[in-house]
């Protein structure tokens, strides 16, 4: 046999090996409560959840999924006011809170074959204590710092638990949003990150290649698959390989999806606030007139109308107007390049003012940056764009190594954010005052918790340039029902979503 023939035979054998390795995976999906004939719903997401242990999860996808796998003591109403979920509460003193578990709590679900004789049992105050005690004991949890003010947790009875604080914290209930875990599994250091066991409406069935979930009430199966590329995610929806997608698509793709008769596109307002961060130690940017000039040099409304999703809206402050602590509409800085130019000249700036704008490598962020660059040029501002990988970009921001940067506040619930982001004593690493803003007047207002006055002061002093709250959307096959995008992008409707064969 000659060498060429041997090579060809080798290649043939290789191909056979490859294809034999590509056997279709058989689903181990078994209905939990009821035999379910419902079609599986496949949800394509841009980033898979990183950690299903609520004590460690900090990425958006994990937090969204954990809301469905576990139950928490507290949730929020439409005005982002903390409201009872698993428990009602009472402030006994400035340093102690009593939480009483209600009947909404569901039993923990232990999957068959978990290797234990656990019987389904309702969540108790002991589980609450075990969960929060374990968080405070961790050294590597992103949530530990939030509970550093916790002195101790005392179980009063099966349904009642007392939280004692070191210092008064009027926003403490708003922090109790982490999923509650079964105490006996916390004790044995169960791997919740990969085998979550909670009392939420969904359970994780399998996590090989994709996350297969099942709804406990009716056996509805839901799969989450990660598809990073936005174009591919869109094509998979068009090709009906997936049933729905949500967020992270350029607006023109959304228009394309809206033109498809087999698809439904739903949009809603968003609450995540985008802004331009400014370095207040920069000799030019520390001048108020320069900051005002920047605010007048960007045509936000045109950007929203042309390159953003429907339902995107102008932003005035970190918390949206409907937030209970906000409840006011701030006057937007109008697009006025001549005024911006005049303000710069009044500030004694030689035109063009050269500034460096740092952003991530995200395509949509870069696109927005180039639009702002073009708009600012008219006002006499020469913006240089530098895009960096996320970790480098964020490290530079925290070190104060920037003039301007673009970021978005995601998932902010309490007005405490104003103190963390702008108080003089909140410079990194202690807080989020990345712009190194120092304002005695604002510090005084923050100490009185007069949030209306605080936001007015920030809006007037412009330690950042407010941009917008980006809208949310979900696109799905016509057969998908009972799902709508939410303002904060959560996936809560997976608890009620349904599909009929199409």
């Amino acid at each position: 046999m000659c060498l060429i023939q041997r090579l060809l035979i080798g290649l043939l054998m290789c191909s056979m090996l490859i294809f034999s390795a590509c056997k279709p995976t058989t689903s181990s999906f078994a209905p939990i409560n009821k035999a379910s004939s419902r079609p599986e719903i496949v949800f394509a997401i841009s980033q898979a959840p990183l950690n299903l242990d609520p004590r460690y999860a900090s990425d958006a996808a994990s937090e969204r999924l954990n809301r469905l796998l576990y139950q928490s003591l507290v949730d929020f109403d439409i005005h982002t006011k903390p409201q009872p979920s698993l428990a009602t509460w009472q402030q006994l003193s400035p340093l102690s809170y009593r939480f009483t578990l209600n009947e909404k709590r569901r039993p923990f679900y232990y999957p068959p074959g978990a290797g234990r004789k656990a019987k389904a049992r309702k969540l108790t105050a002991y589980d609450v204590k075990a969960t929060y005690d374990s968080i405070t004991a961790f050294t590597d949890s992103p949530h530990s710092a939030e509970f550093s003010n916790l002195k101790n947790i005392v179980v009063f009875d099966e349904r009642t638990v007392l939280f004692h604080l070191i210092l008064p914290d009027r926003h403490f209930p708003a922090k109790l949003v982490l999923g509650i875990l079964p105490a006996e599994l916390v004790k044995i250091k169960h791997d919740f990150a990969h085998n979550p066991i909670g009392s939420g409406p969904l359970v994780l069935h399998d996590s090989h290649n994709k996350l297969r979930l099942q709804r406990l009430d009716d056996g509805q199966r839901i799969s989450l698959i990660e598809v990073k590329d936005p174009t591919v995610r869109m094509l998979k929806l068009v090709h009906a390989e997936v049933d729905m997608i949500q967020g992270d698509l350029p607006p023109e793709s959304l228009s394309y999806l809206q033109s498809k008769p087999t698809l439904t596109v739903k949009t809603s307002v968003g609450v995540n606030f985008s802004y331009l961060g400014l370095n207040m130690q920069d000799p030019q940017l520390k001048k108020l007139k320069v900051r005002q000039a920047l605010a007048h040099a960007i045509d936000r409304q045109a950007i929203i109308d042309k390159v953003m999703l429907r339902h995107s809206r102008l932003g005035g402050a970190i918390l949206p107007p409907e937030h209970y602590a906000q409840r006011q509409t701030l006057d937007a800085y109008a697009y006025d390049p001549p005024l911006a130019r005049r303000l710069l000249q009044e500030a004694g700036v030689r035109l063009p003012l050269k500034l460096v704008y740092k952003t991530s490598t995200d395509a949509q962020r870069l696109r927005l940056a180039t639009i702002m660059q073009a708009q600012m040029r008219v006002a006499g501002i020469d913006l240089e764009i530098r895009s960096l990988d996320w970790a480098t970009f964020f490290a530079e921001i925290k070190q104060g190594n920037f003039q301007l940067y673009g970021l978005t506040w995601v998932g902010v619930k309490t007005p405490e954010i104003y103190g963390q982001a702008f108080a003089s004593d909140s410079l990194p690493p202690k807080g989020f005052n990345r712009g190194r803003y120092q304002d005695a007047e604002l510090d005084k207002l923050l100490s009185t918790a007069d949030w209306r006055a605080v936001t007015q002061r920030i809006h007037q002093q412009l330690p950042y340039i407010p941009l917008w709250y980006e809208g949310q959307f979900a696109a799905m096959q016509k057969g998908i029902q009972n799902y709508s995008p939410k303002a904060d992008g959560n996936w809560d409707d997976l608890a009620t979503i349904s599909a009929y064969a199409h």
């Binding site: 000659c2 060498l3 060429i4 290649l11 290789c14 191909s15 090996l17 490859i18 294809f19 390795a21 590509c22 056997k23 279709p24 995976t25 990183l50 950690n51 242990d53 460690y56 900090s58 050294t139 590597d140 949890s141 992103p142 530990s144 710092a145 939030e146 550093s148 791997d191 990150a193 990969h194 290649n209 698959i225 990660e226 598809v227 990073k228 590329d229 174009t231 591919v232 094509l235 998979k236 068009v238 090709h239 390989e241 990988d389 996320w390 970790a391 480098t392 964020f394 490290a395 530079e396 925290k398 963390q420 990194p428 690493p429 202690k430 807080g431 989020f432």
Partner: protein, 303 residues
């Protein structure tokens, strides 16, 4: 053989130390990523000590090497998953994709190259050259979505992406294989054309061998060395994980794992992935050397 083992160890050690140094030089701190901005300085320091990040880079490297000697790759800083499990899940996927892409590349590129060489100067040669140049100029981030559009959306005969069905591998393999086949077509054509002018080919023809025998037994065998070199190099890159193709097609391979770990500053995962990639390159090089020996018995290892 000893020389080869020594060079193997030097390469791996060089890659390990360089990666270790570089990853500690780039901005971004895993402790910051893990704990977020609200963590206290004390908490950061405790975690830094737990992860061994408060030690000098040299001590950290020493510790890393000693763990590695016990085949302990550690756990991912973020997902807490043992790295060996991550690699076990991801590497076979990359291996499958690389082998199929190689199969397509060789299966299409070599015969086309032979055909072009035999038709040198004719329109067929020109056509093959134009097609191969065009193919080699198509980047994966363009070719991939185009293939998706044609085969998955318009013709609806293949899945857009993912790893759910056996046919899911076809489009990513074609994306990689087409590029490789273009290079191999050009290389085979050039190499074969050179050989076809050699005296021993004239002798073979004079002996009365058929043209098929002359090409397959004599000419192609002699032209194989540069082709093997290219195949070896390309296989090395394919095994390093073709990040763009894996990302476009949602193929959970080692390339995606590596890039994700760099983005999250997951040092242990990055180091394990780079080590694996380096080992893959070394193994492919050894295999390439063995193939040289097979193709040309005059070549002996170490000479």
């Amino acid at each position: 053989m000893i020389k080869r083992v020594l060079s193997f160890c030097t390469v791996v050690f060089g890659v390990l130390s360089l990666t270790f140094l570089l990853i500690h030089l780039v901005p971004g701190d895993p402790v910051e990523v893990m704990l977020g901005e609200s963590a206290s300085t004390a908490d950061r320091e405790v975690l830094r000590a737990e992860l061994g990040l408060n030690q000098s880079v040299a001590s950290q490297f020493g510790l890393y090497l000693s763990r590695l000697a016990h085949a302990d790759f550690g756990v991912s800083i973020h997902s807490k998953t043992p790295i060996i499990d991550l690699i076990k899940n991801r590497y076979p996927a990359t291996l499958k994709l690389a082998l199929l892409a190689l199969l397509i590349g060789v299966g299409v590129g070599v015969p086309l190259g032979i055909y072009a060489a035999l038709k040198a100067g004719h329109w067929q040669d020109l056509l093959v050259t134009i097609v191969s140049v065009r193919l080699s100029a198509m980047p994966a981030f363009w070719l991939g979505p185009m293939l998706m559009l044609i085969f998955a959306v318009w013709l609806a005969i293949l899945p857009v992406s993912g790893m759910d069905s056996p046919s899911s591998i076809i489009l990513p393999a074609l994306t990689l294989g087409f590029g490789l086949s273009a290079i191999l077509t050009r290389m085979t054509r050039t190499s074969l054309l050179e050989v076809l002018n050699e005296d021993f080919i004239r002798t073979a023809r004079a002996k009365g061998l058929t043209e098929r025998q002359v090409i397959l037994r004599h000419a192609l065998r002699a032209a194989l060395l540069p082709i093997i070199t290219i195949v070896g190099l390309q296989m090395g890159s394919l095994l390093a994980g073709t990040v763009i193709t894996e990302t476009i097609f949602s193929w959970d391979g080692i390339g995606r794992l590596l890039v994700e770990s760099i983005e999250k500053r997951d040092y242990p995962v990055t180091q394990a992935c780079v080590l694996l990639v380096a080992l893959s390159y070394v193994v492919v090089n050894v295999l390439t050397d063995l193939l040289y020996r097979l193709a040309d018995p005059r070549i002996r290892l170490g000479h």
